[in-house]
Amino acid sequence: MSALDKERQLILTVSSSPHIRTGEDTRSIMLDVIIALLPALAVAAYMFGVRAILLALASTAACVFFEWGYRKAMKKPQAIGDLSAAVTGLLLSYCLPVTTPFWAVVIGDFFAIVLVKQLFGGIGKNFVNPALAARAFMFSWPVIMTTWVTPLSYKSFFTLKLIDASTGPTVDAVTAATPLASLANGAIPESVSLLQAFVGQVGGSMGEISAFALLLGGLYLLVRRVITPVIPLSYLLTVAALTFIFPLGGNGRLEWMLWQLCSGGLMLGAVFMATDYTTSPVNPRAQAVYGIGCGAITVFIRYFGAYVEGVSYAILLMNTCVWLLDRAFHSGRFGAARKRLAPAAAQAGPAPSSAPAPVRPPERPAEKPETGSAGAAADEAGKASAGAPDPKEEKSDE
């Protein structure tokens, strides 16, 4: 021990490089997601009354409780601090009708956290989206899951009564068909305008109604680099393209497409649920294929399925393909495409001084390193994001 060490009584820490880490961690990311979800909650509260907030709070609390309880029971280190359970709880409440009784939500939360997430080891280890799986499970009570309240129909902001599971909606608010139900029959809804659908004055699950608020949240996530645009864009573009090319019921293509984009859980799914890290691919190209798959299945179910809404099942189905996709579509290998790029001089052998190949000017764009493979669009999308995810750092001038 050196004198210095002795003098300062230093017990130094030794660890592997790197010795600095970004300030972002799981908790801060999840916090960002929660923040991004708030506008949609605000719209829900405005449209459906205070019950929307209560439902969200109850679901969040229950998820956090189950996460804590399971890990306690299994004697595993606690992990509620990472807030991922809170995100799951919040998102589950978003894809339920505002009238869902609390007991049903709590069962859903239990299902999501215990059976889907923690049983497989907790965050990062589950293979399907907990909130969506729970929503699918909650179709055990179809009446609850398909009872929609007309926005702004409550008599008082604070008094939306629960529906009673046995007698159906005994609400002092009016139940309504969602635009999706109408779209499923090939008809553009008459009672609401597209603008209303965009801002959220329509029936539907409490958190999904406002495409606008969700896009706002998505924008926040993009700016904070929590998500990359690959999945939401490829998802939405696929739905847009398919509905534009194949409009139903003789409707105008553009109008039909816009209605499809603004209705149902599409925005919520594309921005917040298909992007769930754990259950989506990590390679940008695979992400693009995943988004396209989600989009195609969504439209397929919306057009041909028994369910008017296909988003949750589309995402769940694609969840099961994640491992395959990540394997099949990883992004090439550094140096694998070198032959094409090697300069003539290097191969010509000695005498470089007599005829040195000029150094490439840096202005010339580098050639695309990968060989152009299948799915050029996916490739492009992948590339677009590849640059993007450099995480935001503490600025050097801080």
Partner: protein, 270 residues
């Protein structure tokens, strides 16, 4: 009655037809098969249930012939496994049961050179820097790589040192390879005591880094009536072929590190 006749005719006809077909096919398409393989196949349940994880009984039989574990046929159970064992060759002759032993008593009796942060694994810590955080570079790191590979849960970490439970250890010796410090040795199950240290530095240096380490004082060597203990390279080593379990060495060791191979560390120290 006609009906029954038809039934007999049709089904009997089908049976005869397919019987013939298979009989001919088995001649025409006869493939020479491995005797052993056939024998193994005959032992299996034949349910082709896939429970073994292979594509049917034949596939599993082939795998067994190629060295796969013999106890995977679930419907067949133990009996099948036994019969396959017979086919695959005589069971190994009875040998002295060997168990694993960790040659270290340091752990909490050493001090840490630094605070280690990182993956909790001996291999990682040892390969990271300076042979791990412990002051003694020979000793057990206590992150339990050995315990993780032990299929029988025989190893636990006690007082910062890995400890093998001789009753649970089946002598597979997977732990030997897992230990980056090469601290684990085989000893006879019956051995009453063994030297739990591997520090080959001179006594003074050892004393500096560990309160329990072997000083190479040779007291054990001198006292052993059977010439079974020797200090080599500054650390005592026991020759089990000579040791009679008389216990003199353990008694005389000033550091009390000649210990029985199982039991908790504290008990051993007594």
């Amino acid at each position: 009655m006609n009906n029954i006749l038809y039934a007999v005719a049709v089904l009997g006809g089908l049976g005869a037809f397919f019987g013939l077909l298979l009989a001919i096919a088995s001649k025409v398409f006869a493939v020479r098969t491995d005797e052993k393989l056939e024998a193994i196949l005959a032992c299996l349940s034949g349910a082709n249930c896939g429970a073994c994880g292979y594509a049917g009984c034949a596939a599993y039989a082939a795998a067994v012939a190629a060295g796969a574990p013999i106890d995977r046929c679930i419907p067949g159970g133990d009996e099948t496994a036994k019969r396959i064992a017979d086919i695959m060759g005589a069971a190994p002759a009875k040998v002295e049961r060997l168990v694993a032993f960790v040659r270290c008593s340091g752990g909490d009796k050493t001090y840490d050179k630094y605070a280690y942060e990182g993956i909790k694994s001996c291999a990682m810590a040892a390969s990271s820097i300076s042979g791990g955080q412990r002051s003694c570079v020979y000793g057990c790191l206590g992150y339990g790589d050995c315990a993780r590979v032990c299929p029988h849960g025989a190893i636990s970490i006690s007082g910062g040192v890995a400890l093998v439970d001789r009753e649970k250890c089946r002598g597979c010796m997977l732990c030997l390879a897992a230990c980056p410090k090469k601290l684990i040795i085989r000893i006879p199950y019956s051995a009453a005591s063994t030297i739990a240290c591997a520090n080959t530095d001179r006594g003074g240096l050892t004393r500096n880094v560990c309160q329990a380490g072997c000083l190479g004082c040779k007291i054990c060597e001198k006292n052993c009536p059977h010439n079974a203990v020797h200090v080599e390279n500054n650390v005592a080593v026991k020759d089990f072929s000579k040791c009679t379990n008389c216990g003199v060495c353990a008694e005389k060791c000033p550091r009390k590190l000649i210990k029985p191979p199982s039991g908790r560390l504290e008990e051993r120290a007594e």
